[in-house]
Symmetry: C2
Subunit: 333 residues, 2 copies
Amino acid sequence: MSRAWSLKSRPNGMPVASDFELIDLPTTALNDGEMRIANRWLSVDPYMRGRMNDVKSYVPPFALGEPMQGGAIGEVIESRAEGFAVGDVVQHFLGWRDEAVLPATQVQKLPALGVPPQQFLGLLGMPGMTGYFGLLHVAEAKAGDVVFVSAAAGAVGSTVVQVAKASGMTVIGSAGGADKCALVKGLGADAVIDYKSEGPLLKKLLAALQGLGKDGIDVYFDNVGGEHLDAALATGNLHARFAICGMIDIYNTSKPTELRYLARLIGMRIRMTGLLVSDHMGKTAEFYRVMGGWLAEGKLKNEETVFEGLDAMPDAFFGLFTGGNTGKMLVKL
Amino acid sequence: MSRAWSLKSRPNGMPVASDFELIDLPTTALNDGEMRIANRWLSVDPYMRGRMNDVKSYVPPFALGEPMQGGAIGEVIESRAEGFAVGDVVQHFLGWRDEAVLPATQVQKLPALGVPPQQFLGLLGMPGMTGYFGLLHVAEAKAGDVVFVSAAAGAVGSTVVQVAKASGMTVIGSAGGADKCALVKGLGADAVIDYKSEGPLLKKLLAALQGLGKDGIDVYFDNVGGEHLDAALATGNLHARFAICGMIDIYNTSKPTELRYLARLIGMRIRMTGLLVSDHMGKTAEFYRVMGGWLAEGKLKNEETVFEGLDAMPDAFFGLFTGGNTGKMLVKL
């Protein structure tokens, strides 16, 4: 018998343990074309918070009482699907559970890049693609640009820092606390801002720019929103490009975002573009080729935070909003 | 002797009469290559408010005590410049005064489009180009798009409405009060919102969309900021494009902009781009060709509000912020 997390009640603000419930899933026989997968790694992502609200969005809300979903890596343990054999390690979207039954059309084998499989949920998976395509395709960052990235110790942000450095850019990363700042520095960032330390963020960003001998930023990669976005608006150079990827600041609140520097959009002709990785799925060959090359040259480090066991899944999720992870947040089964 | 308005003190918030002073300009002899121009029409524009602050921006601040500047149309009354003769009607940038002395390099003759000269300060001038290039080049609006434009009775907004209709788009315009709304409707807008009437703007926009059988907007042309921008964010369709041209809401205040729907940028992959017409000056030939064609077909109306005499210049300027104009605000000398 397998088990899955389901949403018992829709969180009001910050999710709590009682919003979630482990339910038993009936074991069903496989149909032709299907396989059974024992999940080994479950992905834990900020965007899942949005699916807990009952609002129309780019992915449908989680249904109350039903098994939840998310990225997962597992091993095929039974197969009636052509091309998939017992022992194959695969990626799919039925996470938040220990076992999944899926048709072959909804399962991908992992590219042969010689890395541990869970990296395909992080640096080489959705967060990595988000950072890569967001920085290079949406923000159109190029060598020589000054890049500011918020939540730079997170799964997406840590990719942005590394892709930017591998591409010849100057990078300022923001993270919360000394440990995370050290991690971001270790990934190659030219300057790091601790957003939890005393003082306004804008002042820290201006100091970081001055320290690097730069007047402003050419690119902002936003994972946070709020004060970070405003500081980016305040320091954006002429024709700066912002990729807006996340606003973790407001996922658990209904407070409006206050921006003091929004009018600089006009004077500086800044461009802000919302980013979802799903728009870029047609370009994964480029992603694996380029990232694979950087991996082989030793230019990329994988950062992850691992919780153990299916029972820990909600705690891992809460950790996303309390600064509990560096790099990709994962649950290992 | 000629006279010019100068800035006596930098306005704090809304400008007042005592911030301005008429000064006498000494009459100087012309150098080779220069001409003397009697101004006939002075341009009155919202962006001028920004030049009254002592902050670095895309145009330098007005110097206290010096003659102010702005667009103007005048007649050459004395010429030592080759190619310019007494009686030529020309356009230049030494407004806020009755007479200007300029070298030929800073003076343009008006294109021969058979319209009254002051239209080259409005529909066929900077505001017209701002609307045209902002809508078609920055927001990349195309036939079939649903376009929302704020301050639709203003110089830029009224151009946007007409360019959009001439290009096969559906247009919702927002304006303040019944008279302006009637004017916007008369320009061809499919629906009009009175932002001064009772109730939240978003509700009115949703009602207008429903009345047109539309789900959301594909393009927003922003002249206002604030609640208008937030309503546009709330109703933006997938891959909607916003041209951010002005934020008259905040020109006279230092309050932050509050946005409740900013995160829709991400889910809908909305693109917001700041717009200054100066980036598009290399494409004026296209502008005159296309707009000239529409003029000849009777598809464009020129809207203007005229104040009389140099003394009225500050009052005309104040009127921009108190809803005093429909279409282009002008002072006739």
